[in-house]
């Protein structure tokens, strides 16, 4: 086992597993968010459950945050090693001749997503923590829909979210199927995995973008 922890392949496994875990989280996230467009009442109910259920708050949330941290930290560690592996750069290097742009620029799409997560955590997670633990305000199961829609009132925030979702799509386009290759899956199912990856990486970010734009265009009028 000690070899597994230190080796380059182990780091690849960690990237793949944490990436797949975050993909599963995205499915849950986009499903609940879509409720904010279809049924504000259900969205409030689901958000309240997620916000106050002890298993979600004290088990699943820390695991999720750990998954995000591990994925990003390992991404940086690998990137630094990869840069070291080519100490002197080519004068002419035609990367586009043999590999797609998305696969060669995962670090940049990842950095944009990291920056977005900073904003996203500030918008929602910090707000929730302040509401519950700093100001210690009473539970209000009806506040979530209004708070969410109001967040998308400024154009700049909606635009930043949409741009981030485009980068998320690019990141998933390569990363999702790539994690299966890393886990050793390259067989008759790989074509199906690649097709599913492409559908997933378009549909999920598109759904997120649609939700943001929908709330921007349909503000709550008091």
């Amino acid at each position: 086992m000690s070899g597994l922890i230190k080796s380059s392949l182990a780091r690849k496994f960690v990237m793949a597993l944490s990436g797949l875990f975050l993909v599963i989280f995205l499915v849950l996230h986009v499903t609940i968010n879509l409720a904010s467009v279809i049924s504000p009442d259900f969205f409030n109910e689901a958000s309240h459950f997620m916000g106050y259920n002890p298993i979600v708050q004290f088990l699943m949330q820390p695991i999720l945050i750990a998954g995000v941290i591990v994925h990003f930290v390992m991404g940086f560690v690998l990137e630094i090693q990869n840069k070291k592996a080519r100490g002197i750069a080519y004068v002419k290097y035609k990367g586009s001749a043999n590999a797609p742009w998305v696969s060669r620029n995962m670090i940049y799409s990842g950095l944009v997503i990291l920056a977005f997560l900073g904003l996203h955590f500030y918008d929602f997670w910090v707000h929730e923590m302040t509401y519950k633990y700093v100001e210690a305000l009473p539970q209000d199961p009806t506040r979530y829909y209004h708070e969410t829609v109001e967040k998308f009132a400024p154009f700049w925030r909606t635009a930043l979210y949409v741009v981030s979702f485009v980068l998320l799509a690019l990141h998933l386009w390569h990363g999702f199927a790539s994690s299966f290759q890393t886990m050793g899956v390259n067989n008759k199912y790989s074509k199906g995995i690649t097709i599913f990856t492409k559908l997933f990486s378009v549909v999920v970010p598109l759904a997120f973008a649609f939700i943001a734009i929908y709330h921007y265009l349909n503000p709550i009028t008091h």
Partner: protein, 248 residues
């Protein structure tokens, strides 16, 4: 044809290199790329200048010795060939051609376009073989039945000539296509299964020690490999490694 060459010149491993411009006339389209460099070197020698050092041996695409980054691609613009199989008909009169050595920390430049690829030898020595412990009753390898698809996959992996184009092409200078081909060619055969777990662990450990980068599955290595070694080998190596390490 007339060519404008930009070639990496470096006196020795400890010197700092630089790109040097050469104009070469009278290049014929039927010449191989290496013959074109021979012509350049004859010109340089006749002028009393130091010829350009480059690796070459069989000149028929099987030894894996020639190793040039040509206009940003290992072995040049054509696919499934080595530099010695590349011909000047792939270029046009007046073209500028940038020629560099493989770039990887694990492949240090020895002189001009020659790199030290002994890191590959050390990976191979770490486990890329089958121990033959002879006894009084050796079993004839031909007497062991092997499924045709397994034998074909193993043979395909074994066609790797260890040229290093995978490392040169990879944006991370990763050696995983090479290492996985060497792991696979044995892992697929019954004779190789005996030492499979130990082999994959030792070869990956050596690969890491040599300072190669990590695979990010861009697929550049597969595209640039002159022997068409498949990414399936990397997936197989990952499976083998995971299974070997978890079993302890």
């Amino acid at each position: 044809m007339k060519l404008y060459l930009k070639i990496w010149r470096q006196k020795d491993a400890n010197s700092k290199g630089a790109m040097v411009d050469y104009t070469l006339n009278g290049v014929e389209s039927d010449m191989s790329f290496l013959e074109m460099l021979d012509v350049l070197n004859e010109e340089l020698i006749s002028k009393g200048e130091e010829p350009v050092e480059f690796d070459h041996d069989c000149r028929e695409g099987i030894c894996g010795t020639c190793s040039l980054m040509i206009n940003g691609r290992p072995h040049g613009p054509d696919s499934m060939i080595t530099v010695c199989q590349l011909h000047m008909r792939s270029f046009n009169d007046g073209d500028e051609i940038v020629i560099e050595p493989w770039r990887a920390t694990a492949f240090p430049v020895i002189k001009d376009l020659i790199t030290d690829r002994s890191a590959f030898d050390r990976i191979q020595q770490a486990g890329g073989y089958i121990s033959v412990n002879t006894s009084g009753r050796p079993v004839d390898a031909n007497a062991i039945p092997i499924e045709k698809d397994k034998a074909d996959e193993s043979f395909n992996a074994a066609t790797c000539i260890g040229c290093g184009a995978c490392v040169a092409a990879c944006k991370n200078a990763s050696a995983m296509l090479f290492t996985s081909a060497k792991v696979s060619q044995f892992a697929l055969l019954p004779q190789g299964r005996v030492e499979a777990a130990e082999r994959v662990q030792n070869m990956v450990r050596q690969m890491d020690l040599e300072g190669f980068g990590n695979c990010t599955n861009t697929g550049a290595c597969e595209v640039e490999c002159p022997k068409g070694i498949s990414l399936e080998n990397i997936a197989r190596m990952n499976r083998e490694y995971l299974s070997a390490t978890l079993k302890g």
